[in-house]
């Protein structure tokens, strides 16, 4: 009797030890997730969700902004994106201004991505990923979306930072949105300084 009790106790111990190993390893596993997998997951989740839920096809719905907040935003490095978009103007901004620009630009980008994602239903997605190394990012994962007359190439630039792999640039057909914002920021800074960027962003975000 005591032996059986001891045995079942041992079994419990063993089971718990197994659990312990799994639990203690899981954060490590998340950290070494390869960028290709991350992008594949991101793209597949996005397109599937939009196709299955008509509400996500409305760019102004609360649902799409919730979806983006929950699924997209945590995987983007807005600090880095803002820094690249500001380019040489980044150094001209005070730390407080930098923080403000990151917040406001993050809001604008979130809305832009919501708008873009809501159009995904028209695409039949076949995700092929390939990795290449490019300047300013640690790795670029190239994907192809098939379905319109021409396949659409979407490349994700990722960097490996303290929070794991995060997206820091997206190009569609080789065209970078961040580069387009850099021209706008340059114009705004030369016209009315760093404050001009903050004002324009705030105005665009409706606040």
């Amino acid at each position: 009797m005591t032996l059986r009790c001891a045995l079942s106790g041992l079994a419990q111990w063993l089971a718990l030890t197994g659990l312990m190993v799994v639990v203690s390893l899981s954060p490590l596993r998340a950290e070494v997730q390869v960028p290709d997998e991350l992008v594949k997951k991101l793209a597949a989740e996005m397109t599937q969700a939009v196709r299955n839920d008509p509400e996500l096809q409305n760019p102004n719905s609360v649902k799409i902004s919730d979806f983006v907040q929950k699924n997209i935003v945590p995987r983007f490095d807005f600090d880095r994106i803002t820094q690249i978009a500001m380019g040489r103007n980044w150094a001209k901004a005070s730390p407080t201004e930098q923080k403000q620009i990151v917040i406001e630009f993050g809001k604008l980008l979130t809305r832009t991505y919501s708008n873009a994602i809501s159009t995904l239903k028209e695409l039949d997605v076949e995700i092929k990923t390939t990795r290449v190394t490019t300047p300013n990012v640690d790795v670029t994962v190239k994907t192809q979306m098939i379905g319109r007359p021409q396949p659409v190439a979407i490349d994700y630039g990722l960097i490996n930072g303290p929070g794991g792999w995060k997206v820091s640039d997206v190009t569609v057909e080789g065209i970078s949105l961040v580069a387009a914002y850099r021209d706008e920021f340059n114009g705004l800074v030369s016209a009315s300084g760093v404050q001009g960027v903050i004002d324009a962003l705030k105005k665009k975000n409706g606040g």
């Binding site: 419990q12 111990w13 718990l16 030890t17 659990l19 312990m20 639990v23 203690s24 954060p27 490590l28 950290e31 070494v32 760019p59 880095r80 820094q83 690249i84 380019g87 040489r88 604008l108 809305r111 832009t112 708008n115 873009a116 159009t119 300047p135 300013n136 640690d138 007359p149 021409q150 396949p151 960097i159 490996n160 930072g161 303290p162 057909e173 080789g174 065209i175 970078s176 949105l177 580069a179 387009a180 914002y181 850099r182 021209d183 706008e184 340059n186 114009g187 705004l188 324009a200 962003l201 665009k204």
Partner: protein, 251 residues
């Protein structure tokens, strides 16, 4: 017993996590956030005619507002989507002939071969170009035009230029477009069918790009600058890909 199991669970599962959390973090690959590459920042765009361009841009916006947008809305409203797709395919098929010729001029024989294959398949099986059968066979449409050819040949882009009705362009692309118009068979047709066909193509093109125009308006701080950047990026890429393919074909 239950309390004991819980405390054992705590000891075994939670404590090691706390204890090993730090070493695990240290094991992570070093943060390889490369410093921003300064020379990666492109030179400011050549827009010496900016005041004139902004005026033409505003004029085009006005024309869009009073004429083009209502027409596009009407076109999208009365034509079922398969008709619109068919019309788009029809003009794409005509364009493919022109794309193929340009790939020949760029010395890119394999791309030209694919373009002409598309034209043959789409004109025959695709009933005069109404159906894009080529794409279903894996022969996707490729962009190409004479402005790109001039770029591949080494002509500089020149200043940015907004054309009335046609929108963003550059000196080089305008030269390319003029050659296109002069060599377009439609230029030698009777006025009425010629203008109707060109008008229809214009309408279809604008209908195709309407969704993108909305995206740009919603995302940009200064729409003029935003569009200029996207357009110049696109043209630079087209020339670069033409050059890369030509040099790889030559080797």
């Amino acid at each position: 017993m239950k309390i004991r199991t819980a405390s054992v669970f705590f000891l075994l599962a939670v404590l090691p996590n706390i204890a090993f959390a730090a070493p695990v973090k240290k094991m992570k690959p070093a943060v390889i956030t490369a410093p921003l590459v300064e020379e990666n920042e492109p030179a400011p765009p050549n827009d010496m005619l900016e005041p004139l361009n902004r005026a033409t841009f505003a004029l085009n916006d006005g024309i869009d507002f009073v004429l083009i947008n209502p027409l596009v809305t009407l076109w999208n409203g009365i034509m079922p989507s398969f008709v619109r797709t068919g019309v788009g395919n029809f003009f794409n098929n005509l364009d493919d002939v022109y794309v193929g010729v340009n790939h020949v001029l760029q010395g890119n024989g394999s791309a030209a071969g694919a373009d002409f294959k598309r034209v043959v398949v789409n004109t025959t099986v695709g009933i005069g170009g109404l159906f894009d059968v080529g794409a279903k066979m894996g022969l996707h449409k490729v962009d190409g035009d004479f402005g790109q050819t001039l770029g591949v040949w080494g002509f500089p882009t020149g200043p940015y230029l907004i054309l009335p009705l046609l929108g963003p362009s550059t000196f080089r692309e305008t030269a390319g477009r003029s050659v296109r118009v002069m060599t377009d068979p439609r230029s030698y047709m009777d006025t009425v069918p010629s203008y109707s066909l060109m008008g229809l193509e214009y309408l279809q093109t604008r209908a195709d790009t309407k969704a993108n125009e909305g995206l740009i308006a919603a995302s940009s701080l200064d729409r003029y600058v935003f569009i200029r950047n996207l357009y110049l990026q696109k043209r630079a890429l087209l020339v670069k890909s033409g050059r890369d393919k030509t040099s790889s074909a030559a080797n």
